[in-house]
Amino acid sequence: MPAPEVVFKDIFEGADRIEILGKLPSILWLYIEAARSLVNVSIEGGESGESVTNALKMLSVLEQASRFVSNEELSKCLETHSRMLGALSSGELVSGDFLESFKMELPKLERMAGPRPEPAADLGLEKRLLEETLEKADKIKTGRSADLVVSVDVLDDIRNCLSSAAETQGISSIMVIDNAGTLIVHVGDRVDLDAVSLAAVSAANFAATERIARLIGERDFVLLFYKGHNESFHFSRIGGEFIIVTIFDNGLSLGLLRLKIAELSQLLDQKLPRRQG
């Protein structure tokens, strides 16, 4: 009975790239300011350890992001900065001349960063937003920020669990999705089912009911049940990240189904990966 397919596709594919491209100029400005204050501190002979680490972090984000832009000048410029910062962090070559030449490199980047964004009225908020951007940009370096990695072994394992549950008379489909609507595993005999759309709408539905729950002081609803004329839906949470969606015919008793799904979700909770970051 179980369908053989494994659908696990990054539904936000490409979205992070667009986001980081849009934010690249503001990160450039952030780096320029950090680098400038770093040089000033170094000229005065102050402690620059932490500032170097921060600047290096921003630089590595910029280097990754610049690959999406394919602008040679930018890549070269960043390379030079990386080399100079490397020298600075290792404590070598910290002469006045070196710092001056480092400072001279900054206007090049300024030109590429375009018009300087006006400082926001709320500086605290701006700083927090920038920190968030940086943190996220740092994750995007790996190629995607969703950071949900499910190995083939785990997928096979989950599919086996779902398959045995799907053998219960009356269950036509079971799927595991994540909060964002990514279909992780689907097992079932409904060939006409648009499982990918169903996963996306189910996650949206679950998130909407979570809002309802909050309006009445609950954190969320752990299970939802929709009764149709012939078939019904059962949604249940697995941990904080995943949702198990079951389609079953009305011949199956809801009590039995809930029992089965409760067992299954306990089992899957141990097997499913945690989101990284």
Binding site: I11, I18, G22, G114, A204
Partner: protein, 205 residues
């Protein structure tokens, strides 16, 4: 499908911000939410993936003063931009009175903008609405990237791309939702057109 309450002397309209993923629809709403006087605004509700991408919609109710003795209430919605969430987009579009199409000015998003406008037309037609008849404005967002290393589309290019897909050209507004320029101008423009169209419909009946 505006809701007109004659006893309470109130007109309620629904405006949807539409556009490709990551173009700045939610950012538009966030900016309005931050800057508008709280007295004229309800609570903003976002159904998203942990404060990140919109999963279902963002919702922000506003009061925009009075026209001919009627209080104007506007409900702003955004749709999820990612291609996969089409079913959710259709749900949000139900009963829409006006649309702000937020186009991404980045060169890499040129195709995505056009695809999204096409998708808007398809989704509206499923609800028996015609994009060419609906109050619509185009917002070219992320103009703050102009002059930076990121390649940005010219206004005319975007205008040609998108307005040529419509029967009659609609107003275009340049914006930078992150910093704010153009956001309120867009809101003003779409409200004006939408309320005019609602008024026309009422008086026509």
């Amino acid at each position: 499908m505006a809701f007109i309450n004659k006893s309470a002397k109130e007109i309620q309209v629904k405006i949807v911000f539409y556009g490709p993923g990551r173009c700045g629809k939610t950012t538009n709403l966030l900016y309005i939410n931050q800057r508008m006087n709280a007295k004229f605004m309800g609570k903003m509700i976002s159904i998203d993936t942990r404060g990140d991408k919109t999963l279902f919609f963002d919702f922000l109710p506003l009061q925009l003063g009075k026209i001919r003795g009627f209080n104007i209430r506007v409900q702003l919605y955004t749709v999820p931009g990612q291609v996969l969430y089409n079913e959710s987009r259709k749900m949000v579009l139900k009963g829409v009175d006006g649309v702000v199409f937020v186009a991404d000015s980045m060169e890499v998003q040129r195709e995505a903008n056009m695809e999204s406008l096409d998708n808007l037309r398809d989704n509206l037609s499923e609800d028996n609405l015609d994009l060419d008849e609906l109050p619509l404005v185009l917002q070219f967002n992320k103009r703050d990237l102009e002059g930076s290393v990121i390649p940005v589309l010219e206004r005319d290019t975007m205008h040609n791309d998108l307005n040529s897909m419509l029967k009659t050209p609609v107003p275009v507004l340049m914006a930078s939702a992150l910093q704010g320029p153009g956001v309120f101008e867009t809101l003003r423009e779409i409200s004006k057109i939408t309320i005019k169209s609602v008024h026309y419909k009422i008086s026509g009946q």
